[in-house]
């Protein structure tokens, strides 16, 4: 396998981590303002759309395990 172009690595790093930063910042802002945190809304959404929620959690868990647990 050859190395991925530097521009792609930079884009993945910036977009991937930047998106997480944006959403974490939103959660921090909601908490700071005394509003219901992000998990509150995601729980409501998950109860309304359980199949989508299951898919989201499964994909997220698989990705986290795939990226962070080397075997």
């Amino acid at each position: 396998l050859t190395q991925t172009p530097t521009e792609v690595i930079e884009a993945v790093t910036a977009v991937g981590m930047g998106t997480l930063l944006f959403i974490a910042g939103a959660d921090l802002w909601l908490t700071w303002k005394g509003k219901a945190p992000l998990g509150y809304w995601i729980s409501d959404w998950a109860r309304r759309w359980p199949a989508f929620a299951l898919s989201l959690v499964a994909v997220t868990g698989a990705l986290v395990g795939h990226f962070f647990w080397a075997t």
Binding site: L1, T2, Q3, T4, T6, V8, I9, E10, V12, T13, A14, V15, G16, M17, G18, T19, L20, L21, F22, I23, A24, G25, A26, D27, L28, L30, T31, W32, G34, K35, A36, P37, L38, G39, Y40, W41, I42, S43, W45, A46, R47, L56, V57, V59, T60, G61, L63, V64, H66, F67, F68, W69, A70, T71
Partner: protein, 189 residues
């Protein structure tokens, strides 16, 4: 009987009474800020290194760095599991105990506020889903075109900067636990 006209708390506000005290909110704020700073630091450090050393990953010519050892790796995974649980607990403490039987009140202003916040959160969830799909697509494309996948760069980063990468992973699992571990049923904050 004296009737009071004091405004009742909004359904979307986490009040001290329903939040189990202000301390839980501050714990959430502090841990969220730490996670935010850790992810920002990891991102900046990674971008700086990549810009300064194009085509030269820190792990050298090895395509997949060998794991440092099962015990070491299990320790990091265990820490990530703990931060996942911690993320859930902070969200749970912040939302307060379940209050079954309490019905939401009909208030147009509150419903509008809730609608605006709901739209904002839907946007955040949509962005997150788009990110997941993009990462999956990149992983598939890089593997199918014989390029290093994202996984290898994460392992490479761990090989070169173990504790920084572990901190980043712990921050991400903290956020995952906070967002994706469902709170109990019947809760109205």
């Amino acid at each position: 009987v004296a009737l009071t006209t004091a405004p009742r708390p909004s359904r979307t506000e986490v009040t001290p009474r329903s939040a189990g005290g202000g301390w839980s909110r501050w714990v959430s704020i502090v841990l969220l800020a730490i996670a935010f700073l850790v992810i920002a630091g990891v991102m900046v450090e990674g971008l700086q290194y990549t810009a300064a050393h194009p085509g030269q990953p820190p792990c050298g010519a090895r395509p997949v760095p060998a794991p440092r050892g099962t015990n070491d790796q299990l320790l990091v995974v265990g820490i990530c599991v703990l931060t996942f649980v911690l993320g859930h607990l902070t969200a749970r403490w912040q939302a307060g105990p379940p209050q079954p039987g309490r019905k939401p009140e009909l208030d147009v202003d509150r419903m509008r506020t809730r609608g605006r916040q709901g739209m904002f959160v839907q946007l955040a969830v949509t962005i997150f889903l788009a990110e997941m799909a993009t990462l999956l697509a990149i992983e598939i494309i890089t593997l199918s075109t014989n390029h290093w996948p994202i996984t290898w760069y994460v392992r490479c980063a761990y090989d070169a900067a173990g504790w920084q990468t572990s901190l980043g992973g712990a921050a991400i699992t903290f956020l995952s636990g906070r967002w994706f571990w469902l709170r109990g049923p019947g809760r109205v904050s």
